[in-house]
């Protein structure tokens, strides 16, 4: 088994958190995979409501919960002492603990002992699986779409999930493939691509979207940016190994420089299309862009539609905000490009 696989269903742990912004992971899982979530659990003082039934650990165990997912960010990246009794109780009940905290669960002695005793797992979602091979470059069956971006944090995960959802509504054969922590919790499986040793990063991307039915689409969550001073190697590895037939560029229109790298101008959408096509041709000669996904939340309503219309004209492809418009126009483009019979 070369991808992380989580046991479902989930109990989402939101601790003593009171700020929605720090519970994004939990909120994301509920938004995209409500059906995987049996319940939520808070500690004293916690006010986050994910809209799930509140459950004790005992109730979760009775409901056959497979994993307790840490759905909040803890300050400093450690497992706070106040969480410990609850997490240990879950492990004792045979429930896996899943987290993306910076300091590893398995380095906390109490958790490690409780897990060893019950056989439940501590799943540190930043640790890639072992034995990832170097990429082969061999063509795989099935179709693939990769979301890419002009920067980090421009909606690559959101766009991929929205495309999966809308393709499913169209009755298409499709799976979201997660390459980052929250994505893996949402999908229940995946590989944290940016944590893989560089020699093997394209090999990890190959494992992420294996052979599939001829009419099946993997919608692969992108990472980083192919024109990015920090993370271009991550994007390169994911692109080469994914062998995408199609890609969608994600963009935040009010950003002028790379976030966190102020000296670097944001690349244009057109530059990202050209660079992605050029590099992607190595493992898929027919790679093409099928649309652009814009996060318009910072545009005022008057300029929003004009911006999208102008951009569509300029790029010659559907430009949508998946949150507001859905992704049907991108799916229509994909269907016409690839002769998909719905």
């Amino acid at each position: 088994m070369n991808t992380i696989e989580l046991k479902t269903p989930y109990l989402i742990f939101v601790g003593e958190e009171t700020r929605e912004g720090f519970a994004k992971t939990g909120l994301g899982i509920v938004e995209w995979r409500r059906s995987l979530c049996k319940g939520q659990i808070s500690l004293e003082g916690g006010t986050i409501d994910l809209g799930l039934p509140s459950m004790t650990i005992k109730e979760a165990a009775e409901a056959n919960v497979g994993s307790l997912i840490i759905g909040t960010a803890s300050i400093g990246g450690n497992v706070p002492e106040a969480w410990m009794d609850t997490l240990v109780e879950a492990l004792e009940q045979g429930i896996d603990i899943v987290a993306g905290v910076h300091n590893l669960l398995k380095d906390v002695p109490r958790l490690r002992e409780a897990a060893a005793k019950s056989g439940a797992r501590l799943v540190d979602i930043r640790i890639p699986p072992n034995n990832i091979p170097v990429s082969s470059g061999k063509k795989r069956t099935g179709r693939r779409l990769l979301t890419v971006g002009t920067d980090c944090a421009v909606g690559k995960k959101y766009t991929a999930l929205a495309i999966e959802r809308d393709m499913k509504s169209n009755g298409m054969n499709v799976d979201f493939r997660a390459s980052g922590q929250t994505g893996i919790m949402i999908a229940g499986k995946g590989i944290p691509i940016d944590s893989v040793v560089t020699d093997f990063v394209s090999g990890a991307a190959e494992l992420l979207s294996p052979n599939n039915d001829a009419d099946h689409w993997d919608i692969i969550e992108g990472q980083g940016g192919i024109i990015h001073p920090g993370y271009a190697a991550v994007s390169m590895g994911l692109l080469i190994g994914s062998q995408p037939d199609a890609f969608v560029v994600c963009h935040e229109p009010t950003r002028s420089s790379i976030e966190g790298w102020d000296d670097f101008a944001l690349p244009t959408i057109q530059e990202v299309i050209e660079r992605t096509t050029q590099i992607g041709k190595l493992t898929n000669a027919a790679i093409r862009c099928v649309g652009v996904s814009i996060n318009t939340s910072k545009l005022n309503p008057a300029e929003r539609q004009n911006y999208l219309d102008d951009l569509s004209k300029e790029i010659g492809l559907p430009c949508v905000d998946p949150l507001k418009d859905g992704t049907q126009r991108i799916i229509d483009q994909l269907s016409s490009e690839f002769d998909i019979v719905k």
Copy 2:
């Protein structure tokens, strides 16, 4: 300290080896850094002669040897039982053991115990240092040249070392920077770039060639290939982080496909120049190719010079075989491009 640093001088260990091809590491160290090598040590049956004085461990300790370098490849990547007494004796004498074996030195209990007792180190040269940051993209002082290639194993390390040697002969201020195992043993320091987690690979490349004098050149050993189905991400990370002012393309002219990836045609030298320039511009707008390094060992003497002359005309840059011609013509090109006063 964010690079591997080896203690010098060296004692080169060649075990029971009889085949020169399996002692390439030892031979390479002697070829490029004879002055770092105090002696060699074989076991019974070993016939490799590196041209160094034979020494016992005791003599090496008396000669203040800092590291015993495993200069051969062992079958299977394990430390053979027959080596153990010699390695333990070295550790007891306070001599570090340095190796690139696949299975780690520190996972061998006898070695670990002997090292712990004496304070000598077990240096597994495939393990990058801890705490490598994400790359900043910030411009560093000094100049940098990176060797790149149309494939793996086309002379990127050799070319970088030859350029360093020849620039030194010109009285220039220059250092070879090692990004792979044998290179690190030769240089006495460096980072195994392909073993770094992808998020940090460009950050590792930044550490590898830090700020330096305005007239100083780092000659950086390249890895992989920017148009390679297995290792493009390694090359991307190294290119972005190195911020090279200049690069040299290395090529083996009888190869038609990527070695080990037979379905992939070898990219042309011109394609590698264009792609490297395009991607490298992100962190160094003035990046340019200054020459081509050809391994002509498989060409017959009659065609060799014609091939190089034709290629020089086609590319418009010096094309040399460093083994036969040296690299002076590339250095002349570099000097004229960068107004270097010798």
